[in-house]
């Protein structure tokens, strides 16, 4: 034991003492108790564990918790505000962009980062942006449409953009 980690998670400051080797994903899931961030592989391929660290998407299975010290974390639990779904979440619901739901949080966090820097992405840009997030259920067609839906909505109602903007 012995390393104190202070992070701001979804707007709330949290801190805990952790082992140096603790992965950020286990810190989020088991220390912070936010189980919406999932684990799907050991090799940084599947993207199920994607969260935003200081606004940038990272695969939290390949970051140590201590590396997040002093930084800002956004997880799937921080997307909705005041009970209102974020337009990305709404898009996934409206366009049937999820089935088993396991890859969905990571997929939405990657989409969130994409739309922050590219508010009007082309289909190809969306496909490349999520190419580090694997989905086995949907065949991606509806995920791409869900993200396009969110992009449209965010452009027409910028107030819905949420955190980190």
């Amino acid at each position: 034991m012995g390393y104190r980690v202070r992070v701001t998670v979804n707007g709330t400051p949290r801190e805990a003492e952790v082992e140096a080797r603790l992965l950020l994903v286990h810190f989020i899931r088991e220390v912070l108790g936010l189980t919406g961030t999932h684990i799907g592989c050991d090799t940084t391929n599947c993207g199920a564990c994607t969260v935003l660290l200081d606004g940038r998407p990272v695969k939290s299975c390949t970051v140590f918790a201590v590396q997040a010290d002093g930084r800002d974390l956004l997880t799937v639990e921080g997307l909705a505000r005041d009970g209102e779904l974020h337009p990305i979440q709404e898009g996934f619901h409206e366009r049937h962009g999820l089935q088993c739901g396991f890859c969905t949080p990571g997929m939405m966090m990657t989409a969130y980062a994409l739309l922050q820097r590219t508010p009007a992405p082309t289909e190809e840009e969306i496909r490349w942006a999520i190419s580090g997030n694997l989905c086995r259920c949907t065949g991606y067609v509806n995920i791409v449409e869900a993200i396009a839906y969110a992009a449209d909505k965010l452009r027409s109602t910028p107030a819905a953009a949420g955190r980190g903007s």
Partner: protein
């Protein structure tokens, strides 16, 4: 809030999304219990080896490591072996010999997952390597080392299975005007649901009760199997509760019982504390059940003018070290006998031999109904080869040989009775949608310019919804399924089913079935599955059986409720039952539409004012034993362009016309088809599990095993025809796997179509750039 009942045919948005979108699903690794321990597994680096010693001292010396469990420990309780679904047995942990790489060797139990992993690293195992048998054909040679020394039969041959008329088929081939033969290898692949497998086992020594949260597609069957396996230790079925929480994809990989589950249960009994086991991705890929691995030789006989007369198929099935396939018990080769496909054969014969090798066990489905992809790929590749040999257009060849609509119900040469179909309509629709004849003209033009463009068709027939109990069982358990509907006094509903969704959207689809039958809004219906203490007994979700079996049970249970509701309504309206007219959501008296009672009013009366002579309450349960399977079908057309410089296959368009009978939720059906197509693309172009000659798995992580990403996956174009099932209560058929079954052949056929004029007749899937590049180089084709 929607308060209206939608019912069948509506794209109702999914009820389950609410929790998944917010990160509030409860998957197996999200479950944490007070005092919970973690289990991790020591695995074999060798494909075949004798274990001479297991040294546990260093592991046990690590603070936080509580126990190391070996095969000898389990053997003392009669738990070192477990039965498989296919009358074989499988090691939970080996006593002295390992039979495949990554096989479980010992289990470490510790206070947290990091310490458990430290313990695994500290266990030292002494092995004496033995020769590994990797090729199933080599395994059948008389001098091959016998892999399963525990069996009486000292041979690597497991079973022989055959179906059809061998003599008549041989005669048809002798007399045929034209024949073609082709070897087809359908490689070993892995379902790789994004969530791996795992469980939390909690043994309560006071109550003598085991609760097992588990990634399973079939919780009730698991409960019974646990009772049968551990009965000698005093574990009885009423004291076993299996709970399948939210499941992050199944596709067949969560049907089997893996040693890790058994070890977690044993560790919980041993320690008296809850134990969690979650496999990592490499364990999942390297040791969990594989799919396919069929070495096929197929032959077609036909007349010179292109009419099919006979099919003959011989297959060697590589089952790995244990026959732990997940098939109905009487079907060691699954439903492979659907291999006559959509074509009207007078005679056919198929045989399969199961073989042991030093590889992980399995033979499970990969999002398909018991070896149906193997069958569909075989017939669709063969038909295409024959059409090309005869210089006939592959579409016209198919149209000439399809089972005709007036032949249904159609008895196939291998004994199935197809319930309904209209194959020509589906193919013609796909041809129109994609502009087939324009594409053929374009192809001819491009070929003149030296470009490689191909058009591939697959007109598959599926066989799903196992199944009729006279034929289908798993370990004697008949393959019916169930639904229980409880209508509360205020007209709100809880409905429970014997199946278990893994992403298919049962909470919405089943609610629509009940809404359709009873006129109660979907919003007023909660669907529950997966808890054996509450749900009625069922055989689970796999092989596209949920809608054909449990969905049908839902409709039947709703109709039982409606019959009782009619009696209550008659009592309330002081009318005769026969004078009541049902309209969605209410009964009214014939000729007096204003004299009516809604289903909600009737529900209230069922608890407050039920008629004399009638039991109170409004509930029903149905166990549905289907009279037949359902036979979804479709026609897919794929257009590919091949890069002559790199050998890369680029899918330009892919049109999928599916027919799954009457559709309950078109949005969900389309989503299922998109996903199935992507899992058809995967083995066609990317996924394969291979081994070196020592049985080392080549590429046991997502670094090497290539799941298609959004970049490789094309924008699928879907369409439909609707040919209802004549025997299903809703006319529905099942759809979750059709596209996985149909797509690989369409893609392979398109690639070969692009290369046929160069003298290329077949390339085994996955058709990688390397294979294509090699073929092009051999034929002197360069950029």
């Amino acid at each position: 809030m929607a308060t209206q009942a939608h019912g069948m045919g509506h794209a109702v948005k999914r009820k389950e999304d609410a929790r998944f979108l917010r990160g509030k699903g409860t998957y197996i690794d999200d479950i944490t219990l007070p005092g919970m321990l973690y289990l991790d597994i020591v695995r074999s680096p060798y494909a075949h080896a004798r274990i001479t010693a297991i040294h546990t001292e260093k592991a046990l010396a690590i603070p936080g490591v509580l126990a190391v469990v070996t095969g000898r420990d389990l053997d003392r309780y009669g738990l070192a072996w477990m039965p498989t679904l296919m009358s074989d047995r499988q090691m939970v942990l080996p006593i002295d010999t390992v039979l495949y790489q990554a096989q479980e060797v010992a289990a470490v139990v510790a206070t947290d997952r990091y310490t458990a992993a430290d313990g695994v690293a500290a266990v030292e195992v002494d092995y004496e390597p033995l020769p590994a048998v990797v090729d199933p054909r080599a395994a059948l040679r008389p001098d091959a080392p016998v892999i399963r020394q525990d069996r009486e039969k000292k041979s690597n041959h497991i079973w022989h299975w055959e179906v059809g008329d061998r003599e008549a088929t041989d005669r048809a081939f002798r007399e045929a005007e034209v024949t073609v033969a082709q070897d087809l290898y359908i490689p070993r692949i892995h379902v790789s649901s994004i969530e791996t497998c795992g469980c939390v086992a909690r043994w309560d020594p006071v109550e003598g009760k085991l609760t097992l949260w588990m990634t399973t597609q079939a919780p009730h069957a698991i409960r019974t199997v646990v009772a049968l396996v551990a009965g000698h230790l005093g574990l009885a079925e009423h004291k076993i509760r299996v709970i399948a929480p939210d499941i992050g994809g199944g596709f067949g990989g969560k049907v089997p019982v893996y040693p890790g589950y058994v070890l977690a249960v044993a560790a919980s009994v041993l320690t008296g504390r809850p134990v969690k086991w979650i496999e990592d991705r490499m364990e999942n890929l390297q040791a969990d059940s594989f799919a396919r691995d069929y070495h096929i030789t197929a032959e077609l006989a036909a007349t010179r003018d292109g009419r099919l007369t006979a099919l003959r198929v011989k297959t060697i099935a590589d089952h790995g070290a244990f026959d732990a396939a997940a098939n109905p018990s009487k079907f060691p080769a699954g439903l492979f006998s659907i291999c006559t496909g959509s074509y009207d054969f007078r005679t056919a014969f198929a045989e399969v031999d199961g073989v042991y090798t030093n590889k992980p066990p399995g033979g499970i489905a990969y999002r398909c109904s018991f070896r149906v992809t193997e069958a569909s790929y075989t017939i669709e590749r063969m038909v295409d080869i024959l059409a090309h040999e005869l210089s006939m257009d592959p579409a016209e060849f198919r149209l000439k040989n399809f089972v005709r609509p007036d032949q249904f119900p159609y008895r196939s040469a291998l004994g199935w009775t197809y319930d309904s179909g209209n194959y020509e309509a589906a193919l013609r629709k796909a041809m129109d949608r994609i502009g087939y004849w324009d594409l053929r003209r374009e192809q001819a033009e491009r070929r003149r310019r030296g470009e490689l463009m191909g058009i591939g068709i697959s007109s598959f027939t599926e066989i799903v919804g196992a199944g009729p109990s006279h034929t289908f069982d798993i370990l004697g358990l008949k393959m019916f399924d169930s639904a229980e509907i409880r209508i509360h006094p205020t007209g709100k509903v809880v409905a429970r089913f014997g199946t278990k969704s893994q992403g298919q959207g049962h909470e919405t689809t089943y609610a629509q079935i009940i809404a359709h039958e009873l006129g109660i809004p979907e919003d007023d219906i909660v669907v529950e599955e997966g808890d054996t203490d509450t749900a009625p007994y069922g055989l689970g979700t796999y092989a596209s059986r949920s809608t054909p079996t449990a969905g049908a049970a839902g409709a039947v249970a709703a109709r039982k409720i409606l019959a009782k509701a009619r009696k209550i309504a008659a009592h309330l309206l002081e009318a005769h039952e026969d004078d009541l007219v049902w309209e969605p959501g209410r009964f009214h008296v014939k000729g007096s539409p204003e004299r009516a009672k809604t289903i909600q009013e009737i529900a209230f009366a069922a608890y407050t004012n039920h008629p004399p002579g009638l039991e109170a309450g409004l509930e029903a349960v149905a166990y549905y034993d289907p009279p037949n399977l359902t036979f979804p079908f479709g026609s897919y057309i794929c257009v590919v362009d091949i890069d002559k410089g790199t050998g890369e296959v680029k899918i330009r368009r892919f049109v999928a016309v599916d027919d799954c009978g009457n559709i309950i939720n078109p949005m969900i059906v389309e989503g299922q088809i998109h996903g199935g197509l992507t899992m058809g693309l995967a083995p066609a172009l990317y996924e394969e599990i291979t081994y070196d000659e020592h049985g080392n798995m080549l590429g046991g992580s997502f670094m090497d095993y290539l799941l298609p990403t959004a970049v490789e996956t094309p924008r699928w174009e879907t369409d439909k025809t609707v040919t209802p099932s004549p025997h299903h209560p809703l006319g529905a058929k099942g759809v979750g796997e059709s596209a996985t079954v149909g797509a690989p052949a369409a893609i392979a056929n398109a690639v070969i179509d692009a290369l046929w004029h160069l003298g290329v007749r077949h390339i085994d899937i996955p058709i990688t750039p390397w294979k294509v590049w090699k073929v092009l180089r051999e034929r002197g084709v360069t950029e």
